[in-house]
Symmetry: C2
Subunit: 206 residues, 2 copies
């Protein structure tokens, strides 16, 4: 019973922190939204900051666990890029507060940025980076490409899509549908990476 109250408080807190940031939400507001009293929330989590830490920890652990599964499989590098993209979309559906919590931490890093946010993002970046490097080694992706750059723009394709959701619908004449966007972004990315599609990529080439 206490466990489910704990989860309920954490879920409602996640929504409020995603909407307003750590500084914008009081423990009283969370207690009120959950329908328990302040003393109960304090007993369960200690403080608003500790509750925020629990929210970040849950979300970033979920993210890292999903990505461990993606990059830990037996598929080839290009297939893993596709699995990564689909996992990002699933994550957005399963944990819609993950993305805003992450962007708020990028704009206003809290005390937990280094130990939670950066640590987990770094972990997943290394996994993606190694995957791209393996594709280059195997001769599937272009030589000269910096895997760190490829990871950055692969991530950017998806993060900006979520960040710009407010703009979608009226921003462009034919609003992007999620599945179409995902498939076309992946196709452009993988074609762009493919060896033989064009000469080597180097930083100086343009």
């Amino acid at each position: 019973m206490e466990n489910s109250t704990r989860e309920r408080v954490r879920d409602i807190a996640a929504k409020l922190f995603a909407e307003k940031g750590l500084a914008g939400v009081s423990l009283q507001e969370i207690a009120q939204a959950t329908g328990v009293d302040d003393a109960e929330v304090t007993k369960l989590f200690g403080s608003g900051e500790k509750l925020y830490e629990a929210v970040l920890e849950t979300h970033f652990t979920l993210y890292a666990t999903r990505m461990d599964a993606v990059f830990g499989g037996d598929e080839g590098p290009a297939d893993k890029v596709e699995l990564y993209a689909h996992a990002m979309c699933d994550l957005h559906k399963q944990a819609p507060h993950f993305f805003p919590l992450f962007y708020r931490e990028l704009l206003n890093p809290s005390l937990f940025f280094e130990p939670i946010v950066k640590k987990k993002i770094q972990h997943v970046s290394y996994l993606s980076d190694n995957n791209i490097a393996k594709g280059i080694q195997k001769g599937q992706f272009k030589r000269g490409l910096n895997p760190a750059n490829a990871t950055m723009f692969l991530a950017g394709m998806f993060h900006y899509y979520y960040l710009a959701r407010h703009l979608r619908g009226s921003l462009l004449p034919e609003p992007a549908n999620e599945e179409e966007y995902l498939n076309q972004a992946l196709k452009v990315f993988l074609t762009g990476l493919k060896k033989g599609a064009e000469a080597n990529i180097t930083g100086q080439a343009l």
Copy 2:
């Protein structure tokens, strides 16, 4: 003289709003940081909100003007994509507060989101969209690609790079250098778009 005080107040306000958002900055704080008194700031701008509006207006007008120049030229579609990318980097150097102001508006839209932010972003998106559509018509870019999607992931490649600056340096084994990142991202994007590099792109193809 009054004009230069006005600009000085606006520039310092831009920095503070970029760091803390509209709700996080008081008129007193801006006055203090500028070294003028509150009454002078109020006389010049009317209120903190009006000052914020002036900051957004200046930044988003600069952005739209730069992009009008990029997309209004005689270059071909692929060259315009390159010019766009370089203009984004220049803008970041010339007006470093533009990006955080934009991201804060995406996370917490103010009263000025619709009339300023969305209006200008929409304007530039149409320009990019038309440019991609022209590339498809000319047979340079793949058929079946939704120009709105291409604009979205082109923008994402750059926005996430700036958004993730906090993470750069220690996030990946070989931290991306700005020029190298720009050139490689462009190369992947343009190769991915190029007709003939692979079969047609459709939303269903993967």
